[in-house]
Amino acid sequence: MTALGESFPLTRLSVLAAARSRDGAERSRALEILFSSYWKPVYKYIRLKFSQSPQDAQDLTQGFFAELLERQLLSRFDPAKSRLRTYLRLCADSFALNELKAASRKKRGGEFAHLALDVSAAEDELRAQAIDPASIPSPESLEDFFEKEWIRSLFSSAVEELRRVCEAREKQKVFQLFEAYDLADDESISYGELAARFSLPLTEVNNQLAWARRQFRLIALARLRALCESEEEFAREAKTLFGVSMQ
């Protein structure tokens, strides 16, 4: 787990607790983590639900996170009543509606204006998913969409971190195996084919993939833990995410 701490705060404080902290550095770091975990789901959600252009969706996303900070919306979040992502989605909904109604939206972003949104990557992802806003039939589908995008965002950053861990430990081949089997769209590929392609014994393919998956899971769970307010919430979220009990 050592490598995880380099890019992710594995303190006892959850991101939410840190976001409410009086320590400015701690607070700004927590907000950056929250932003990096949620900006893509929020951006895509606004793009689809409100049929906004990439530029407008970007402004609204940055504006939403600024609002979150300015109005201290996180302090009103009650984990007993809802999940954080549901709360954030509803806040984003209400923010975007108000902004669009007022029709006086100005470019804003506050503390988040300096954080570049890789909008073109988010747009590529939407294209790759071939999502037509008109094809989303109901608000429930948009909720599911937001949920899935949140998981995608969490997992994508965990995969990137796994890549860095593998590079740091000179296990690039392990990551390549993981990429070829677990991240590929081709479901027909077998361990035997991987063994031949990477010139490895079959058992080595098995062991290396098991290691990579375990590391991936540790990283993803560490990120998830930081985004949860309590152990109970973490246990619930881990169950939703991986179907496992964190007892």
Binding site: D124, E179, N206
Partner: protein, 334 residues
């Protein structure tokens, strides 16, 4: 940043997904993760039925875990009993990971199920069925060593199944205390070597089990001291859990004979516990029938109260008859 497709996302969510290509099994869903393996729901394409697959999913440099999982499957295969989940098949996946398939049990884990059962006698009857399965395994020379509510399933038709025999130990002849008959002709696999005990952690052996349900000798890692009475300790802890209907309530509310049964089963010293599962089950049955139990010496009042409770209707009828008779006699003399 890597874009993850929906397929990749699903695969990562069940990130231990094994390679089932070329086998008769089609992966359906991830169920749970255990100490050394993952359990999946799968479809047996040949027989068109749902099965549960336990697949080894840890690095296994020296093949020790592979033999452990194979051994677990063989132990289960020997234990043909309605209270023990049956094994269908054991094999190796294309990736070299060993697996075994077993009956897919639809139902609830005991820890979740028990809260739904209001009646204590009904809960205790569930416990007796767990005892049946464990007594059967003991008679076959197998100790479970990890009996706890989460390792017991109650199926949708009320069937009770003892699961997860991953820590099971096969005893040598006569190792069970109290002279339980061992059926040794079964030729259980790897009888001589219990690979789960190989690593010395405590100086005696590996500590395996679950705190709260693990016997003191097991917690100390004294593997050579572990016999059937170690499982009886776990059953005693399980009995308390079942009797109070879950962990939320207090055991002090239990009737004294039942508390005494729990206390005897969970005694610190193995010699003070029941020597056989059948004795423990017999005491619980006696309690259910309103009869005196071996673990508790009643005083006169308790005996009277139990007698009254058991024969309440008859006693009240006789009393009513005597009162009426007395009244009739009185009126006759007037």
């Amino acid at each position: 940043m890597t874009f993850l497709s929906d397929k990749a996302l699903e695969r990562l969510r069940s990130s231990e997904a094994a390679d089932f290509s070329g086998t008769r099994y089609k992966l359906r869903e991830f169920i749970a993760r255990g100490g050394m393996g993952v359990v999946y729901a799968a479809e047996d394409a040949k027989l068109s039925r749902r099965v549960a697959l336990k697949v080894l999913d840890t690095q296994d440099a020296n093949g020790e875990l592979t033999s452990r999982l194979t051994r677990e499957a063989r132990i289960l295969a020997q234990l043909e009993h309605p209270g023990i989940v049956p094994v269908h098949d054991v094999g190796v996946l294309p990736g070299g990971r060993v697996f075994y398939s077993m009956k897919f049990v639809e139902g609830l884990r005991l820890d979740r199920y028990i809260a739904q059962v209001e009646s204590q006698p009904q809960r205790l009857r569930l416990f007796l069925r767990v005892c049946d399965a464990v007594a059967f395994a003991h008679a076959r020379g197998v100790l479970h060593r990890d009996l706890k509510p989460t390792n017991i399933m109650v199926g949708s038709f009320g069937e009770v199944l003892v699961m997860d025999w991953g820590l099971a130990k096969i005893l040598g002849k006569d190792s069970l205390s109290g002279g339980e008959t061992l059926v040794t002709s079964g030729q259980l696999a790897n009888r001589e070597s219990d690979s789960t005990q190989c690593t010395a952690i405590t100086g005696h052996g590996t500590v395996m089990g679950t705190p709260g349900y693990m016997s003191p000798e097991q917690a100390r890692g004294e593997t050579e001291q572990i016999d059937g009475r170690s499982d009886i300790f776990s059953l005693g802890a399980l009995l308390k859990f079942i009797a109070i209907g879950g962990t939320q309530r207090k055991s002090s509310a239990l009737p004294r004979p039942l508390l005494a049964i729990c206390a005897k089963a969970t005694a610190e010293s193995p010699s003070e516990r029941y020597s056989q599962v059948s004795e423990l089950a017999a005491d619980v049955s006696l309690y259910l029938d309103g009869l005196p139990v071996s673990a508790y010496a009643e005083n006169f009042f308790e005996r009277f109260r139990r007698f009254y409770k058991r024969h309440e209707v008859a006693i009240l009828l006789i009393a009513a008859y005597l009162v009426m008779r007395a009244l009739a006699l009185l009126s006759f003399h007037r």
